[in-house]
């Protein structure tokens, strides 16, 4: 009867759920809360010490850092019951002047596993008592105690989750540092201690905010920043050693928590050589310095500006000038027609950009390290482009015509080529524009390629709009169209003159191909070009014959010409090309003694505190070649490099190179050029603009060297 009454009272008092009383200790409120409404005999459930800390005050982690004291919980449990240790959530760094503590602010749950006695009797209620001791600090520290209790009904079967606390406790447990397959080792490096960590969870993680919280308060200087060097398989943290390293001593292990990318892992590092792949790629850039800090609107704006400027780049200008000349032929007479042609050109540009973007995104998704201009890293593409340029040049020279010619342009636009011709010009313009990176474009495209496909496409669309805008604008604004020079015999001369930049472009692509694929490729492309020229001459012959005969019948000469074009094209695509001497391209020009780039070389130079200039370039990148020629290989720049003790590294992206692509991506870029000035003393690099001047480079070099002093 008495027992029944007690059970009844217990049931009334606890309503079948865990009950506890919160205690206000002065600067925090503490209570014990349970994951479940009860506990079965032998079952393990998590009970958490909940702290609601006053604003501005904090309590401490298991290692309190430079000062302070960890929260403790001393249990008084019924016979046969057990409680484990806290599952410590990852703490925060709490700076106090020049000191740093590890602890918690606001509300925090410290879960503890509680194991019920195997012989606990269902129906009874177990009262678990614990004395919690906190050091609560703000400016001053106050030790506070609380005697806490929680009553857990013992249930025959595992009890249902507590409606209030099950989810928060589960969340705390899920977020707590977990053991992971990490391999770690530490070694003295001069005054510092290097902690190298590799393992699966680190691959692809954003390591920017990586931080090591040691369990022992004597192994590192908590207040000092932790230097970060990324590696292919993990990272290396450079720590300022704590008391445990005084006088040449060394702790047996560094154990603690690595907080990284919103997650936390437990690790134990033994003394010894650092694991392979733990470093060598340099520190990550702070978020603010990355293209990653862009958002869609500014990125699209930059892309638009970049597209505009792209019109003026040497690889694009001849094509557009040719197009503009055809418009000029019409003066302002046929507005509606002109508009239609402008729009067709614009559509061609946009279609080409979107196709390029889609290809880039797809390749990226497939894991390929590609970027802007990536197609030019493929020798067959370069070879075909070289033939295309040759064909365009031959056309401009008047060897053959496409559709009708500029000569007939005096009549009506509609009579010529048709809209398909304009779309083709748009596509052609984009194809030949790829080697050029305009200012503003680098950051925008780099950003786009790290975004979801929709945002990336939006940026490429903006780029295309910017690229097409000047030409389309001309067709839409009667005033502009009227301002173009009147047609006349000069146009034929103009056309012949424009052929030569195109021959130059073709010659340049042949050079690129030779660098990529060696001398054998040179013979091949020249032979193909001669066949192509012969075919073009045959086509021209046929066209003239038809113009006279006007029988509209395709002659044998024309067919032979088309066949030879096909032969020339196939000949440069297949069989595959061999390896060229791309590295030879890095051979120093005149005054600039440089050496080729490798991440290891850069890391070694930076570790020695030497200033380094890195030139990310490619033979197919026109902006790069112009910068090389006009700025970097000039005597004043070479002298400044020498004077300031810079090592000049050339990172050649003419052919595919995942290491260089990764470095470009790290700086938010998807293409070359990229110029980095690493100042003396291992500092973060300064990014130079895409269009260099001697002044900009020399100023940056002097500034980089000055930092050493």
């Amino acid at each position: 009867m008495m027992r029944w009454l007690a059970a009844m009272l217990a049931a009334l008092a606890f309503c079948g759920a865990a009950r506890a009383q919160a205690v206000d200790t002065g600067h925090l409120t503490a209570e014990l809360v349970s994951q479940t409404q009860g506990i079965a005999p032998g079952q393990t459930v998590y009970v958490a010490l909940r702290q609601k800390i006053q604003d501005g005050w904090h309590t401490y982690w298991r290692n309190a850092g430079d000062s302070g004291e960890a929260t403790t919980l001393a249990w008084t449990l019924p016979a046969g019951w057990k409680a484990g240790a806290f599952v410590w959530p990852t703490p925060r760094r709490l700076p106090v002047g020049p000191l740093v503590n590890y602890g918690y602010e606001g509300e925090v749950l410290l879960p503890v596993p509680v194991i019920a006695a195997a012989d606990a009797r269902p129906g009874q209620t177990a009262v678990l008592t614990a004395k919690a001791s906190f050091l609560v600090c703000k400016e001053i520290c106050v030790p506070e105690d609380a005697r806490l209790q929680i009553a857990l009904p013992v249930t025959a079967a595992p009890a249902p989750p507590d409606p209030t606390w099950a989810a928060p406790i589960a969340k705390a447990l899920a977020a707590a540092p977990r053991s992971a397959a990490l391999t770690a080792a530490f070694a003295r490096r001069g005054q510092a201690v290097a902690l190298g960590i590799v393992g699966g969870p680190l691959k692809g993680a954003d390591v920017r905010d990586a931080y090591f919280y040691p369990y022992d308060s004597t192994v590192i200087d908590h207040a000092k920043p932790q230097g970060l060097d990324r590696g292919p398989a993990g990272l290396t943290l450079t720590l300022v050693p704590g008391y445990a390293f005084q006088g040449g001593a060394q702790p047996k292990a560094l154990a603690g928590v690595l907080a990284i990318d919103g997650k936390a892992y437990e690790l134990t590092a033994a003394p010894g050589p650092l694991p392979a792949g733990a470093g060598g790629l340099g520190p990550p850039l702070p978020k603010a310095a990355l293209g990653g800090s862009l958002s869609l609107l500014p990125a699209a704006l930059f892309a638009f500006l970049g597209g505009l400027i792209l019109n003026l780049m040497p690889c694009v200008f001849p094509v557009l000038a040719m197009k503009a000349a055809s418009l000029a032929a019409h003066g302002g007479r046929e507005q509606a027609q002109a508009r239609r042609h402008g729009l067709a050109f614009g559509a061609g540009v946009l279609a080409a950009f979107l196709a390029l973007a889609a290809a880039l995104i797809a390749l990226k998704a497939a894991g390929a390290a590609v970027g802007w201009g990536f197609q030019l890293q493929s020798p067959p593409v370069v070879a075909v482009l070289a033939l295309l340029m040759t064909a365009v040049a031959l056309n401009l020279s008047g060897v053959f015509e496409v559709g009708t010619s500029l000569q007939g342009a005096g009549s009506s636009l509609a009579a010529r080529g048709g809209l398909a011709g304009d779309v083709f010009t748009g596509v052609l313009a984009v194809v030949v524009a790829a080697p050029c990176t305009a200012p503003f474009m680098g950051a925008a495209v780099g950003w786009a390629l790290t975004q979801p496909p929709a945002a990336a496409l939006a940026v490429f669309l903006a780029l295309g709009l910017g690229f097409a805008a000047p030409f389309v604008a001309v067709t839409f604004v009667p005033g502009l169209l009227a301002r173009l020079p009147r047609p006349g015999p000069w146009m034929e001369v103009f056309r012949r003159v424009l052929a030569f930049p195109m021959y130059a472009a073709a010659a340049w692509l042949v050079w690129v191909l030779t660098i990529q694929a060696g001398e054998a490729a040179l013979a091949r492309i020249l032979a193909a070009a001669i066949v192509l020229a012969f075919a073009a001459w045959l086509l021209g012959l046929e066209q003239r014959r038809q113009a006279v005969a006007a029988d509209g019948r395709r002659g044998a000469l024309g067919l032979l010409g088309v066949a030879l074009v096909a032969v020339a094209t196939v000949a440069v695509i297949s069989p595959p090309y061999g390896q060229g001497a791309a590295r030879a391209q890095a051979a120093p020009r005149a005054d600039l003694a440089g050496s080729s780039y490798s991440p290891e070389k850069l890391a070694a130079l930076r570790a020695d505190g030497k200033p380094v200039f890195v030139n990310y370039t490619a033979a197919w990148c026109v902006s790069c070649q112009v910068n090389d020629l006009v700025v970097l290989s000039t005597r004043p720049v070479a002298q400044a490099m020498k004077r300031d003790g810079f090592t000049y590294l050339k990172a050649d992206w003419t052919r595919r190179d995942p290491a260089i692509a990764a470095e470009l991506a790290r700086f938010g870029r998807a293409g070359v050029p990229l110029y980095l000035v690493y100042g003396a003393g291992g500092a973060q690099p300064v990014i130079l603009p895409a269009i260099l001047t001697q002044g900009v480079v020399i100023h940056a070099l002097d500034a980089g060297a000055a930092k050493a002093g």
Partner: protein, 206 residues
Amino acid sequence: MGFTRRTALVALTALGIAGPALAGPQIDQPAPDFQATDASDRVRALADDRGRIVVLEWTSDACPYSHKHYDSGNMQRLQAKARRQGVVWFTVMTAPRTSAEYMTPPEVRAWKRKVGSHATAVLIDSDGRLARAYEAKTTPHMFVIDRDGRLVYMGGIDDRPFTDPKSLKGADNYVADALADLEAHRPIAHPVTRPYGCSVKYPPLS
């Protein structure tokens, strides 16, 4: 945009250069010299006490850890014993004038009388220079300097990093150990230990 990015990088670079670890106090190396004013407005310099053992003790009247040692008389007994051995004992109070912890010289003198301190002097380190030179972290944080001016001990006062006065019972007092080792010409058994206590209140760097 390019400009702001570059500016940010330059700023970061400058920070990176400013950040290399300064060599803090090192065991068996000359202890950082200092000049500080005590509660009687007398300037005390470490160099003046060459030839004598010097103990530096960081304390704060607002810190429960310091209170554990003063309220129990533990610190005063240690001071008295050390002074009998001829040790110079400087108690250091680091707190900016703006902080609630700061005590004026008359307040410090009153505090010294009240707690019955046997320290040679209490140094008022309101600009934090002394604390920075020794990288003092906690109250208490203890330093022992030998007769040649070399730092021979730094760290906690004992092995009981708790506020509970009961924790004093059976504690291993590292400062007493170090002084005994010096007297006996033995190597210091634990030259470096973890300091524990409240954080030293550094004034912000101007």
